[in-house]
Symmetry: C2
Subunit: 313 residues, 2 copies
Amino acid sequence: MSKLLIAGTVAYDSLRTPGGERAKILGGSAMHAGVAASLLVQSRLLSVVGGDFAPEHLDFLSGRGIDLSGVKIIPEGKTFAWSGFYEKDLEQAHSLRTDLNVLNVFDARLPENYLNSEYVFLGNIDPELQLKILAQLPERKFAALDTMNFWIDGRKTVLLKAIAEADLLFINDAELRQLTGEPNLPRAARSLLGGRLKYVALKKGENGALLIGAESIAVAPAFPLADVLDPTGAGDSFAGGFMSWVSLRGTEADQLRAALVYGTLAASFNVQGFGCERLAQVSPADIKTRYNEYKMLTSAPELNYFLQGVRQC
Amino acid sequence: MSKLLIAGTVAYDSLRTPGGERAKILGGSAMHAGVAASLLVQSRLLSVVGGDFAPEHLDFLSGRGIDLSGVKIIPEGKTFAWSGFYEKDLEQAHSLRTDLNVLNVFDARLPENYLNSEYVFLGNIDPELQLKILAQLPERKFAALDTMNFWIDGRKTVLLKAIAEADLLFINDAELRQLTGEPNLPRAARSLLGGRLKYVALKKGENGALLIGAESIAVAPAFPLADVLDPTGAGDSFAGGFMSWVSLRGTEADQLRAALVYGTLAASFNVQGFGCERLAQVSPADIKTRYNEYKMLTSAPELNYFLQGVRQC
């Protein structure tokens, strides 16, 4: 059985996109990553919610094989809540309100039964907490860390320490440039490698993803979609998909490349519905169908045969 | 023999990038496209230069098998000249000076021996001239048109007319959104199809390219490079590579996909040197080597085998 730990937020999101709106739906980095991972493996969630968290939402998550023994319920508190909207271009989330609520007292302490976790996804939370979680995991084999500009702005030193303790960093292109001051993405990514860090998984949204190692690059374009409904959680479902694959198949180079593509497909479903509405409906047959289409759209045709005729100028 | 016509500018560029600077080097859309095309085929250039245009530059171009009988030399005029610079991020060219010079009297009249051209690349010039060129080509099989925000701002009506007369439109993502008002790229591209137009080739720079048809999409990520020196002409060398492939292999769907990748590889060499310095040094062996590496970096691994184990939640 996979021993994948997913730590991060579980939230209530209220949002509006050009395609519609939803109030108080399930959101948060750990939720999106956990639901994406649940297509392949059972995982363990580390998070915190308030007394307002609906029992049917707990049922939904545990019904997907997600272990919730590390999701602390604080009866007198309220669940982390975010509200916002997207413009027509869906490029950037505009926050209307962010209520940290119970996140303010999240202590990131692992229950006994999580301590043997081998694979870890640290969703976007305070890097101090990310470090605290890693310190509780003596048997970890591969830890991946996600972050955002907020922590780069305000907590760069501790963030760099946490990054050096992880095996892989999930980050988007703007954040990578901000963190390193280097505009060229392969160079920027490689400037971070060292300590324990061996890979940067670069999230580029509709432009896909790159996996950059010291001497390797793998490229996965995004699945082109004409019906993106809600980009919230795309990066988290990508990471959750990626890490579920790795927890099942290991970290050899070929498997990391496969994980990159698998995560890309998970994210493509995520954005086709609000919250995790679409992703939660996905069947293995859907994934296979999308993978086959993806392979058709993205595979480079055999140029070598045609290139026989190239002339020397 | 291929009958590829390349129309556009031949320029003297003076530019500075973080990697160095050059004064009065060969530039212009037709030059970049022509040099890229010359790796595969002989083409015909339609352009205009001034009396200051150096004989060795004419020799350089004709030495690459490019027919210059349609390059009008106006002895009393000066060659189109551009100077500018790029910031560290290489994202945007900042113009310091643009001297149209002989471009002001470019009449886009084709010499007799060009009139049987079958494949046409219309570089970024006034759409009125692009229309005029197309009107002179009764035997054309496939014409591709490039443009830029300047013409979208100022000449939208005639530009849309020219686009509807072409078979394929080269355009970048910002321009496509500007032209159509639709942020979703596949939807935006498809909103333009009609008249004669069957494809939009979307140029996304370091994020690669998409080829969008009414019911098809092909995706080509860019070749990831840690040593981009000068992005000038990347789009033109992409288009020139693409059209050279098409002029040699035709316009079946498979060949258009191959052209997309081939153009991507041509552009990857173009940006590794100033102007066409690097591209002009490329050998067939270099292309094959880069293609093999590209295929390795970008090919989606076989997930289907692994997906056998996917569980149904």
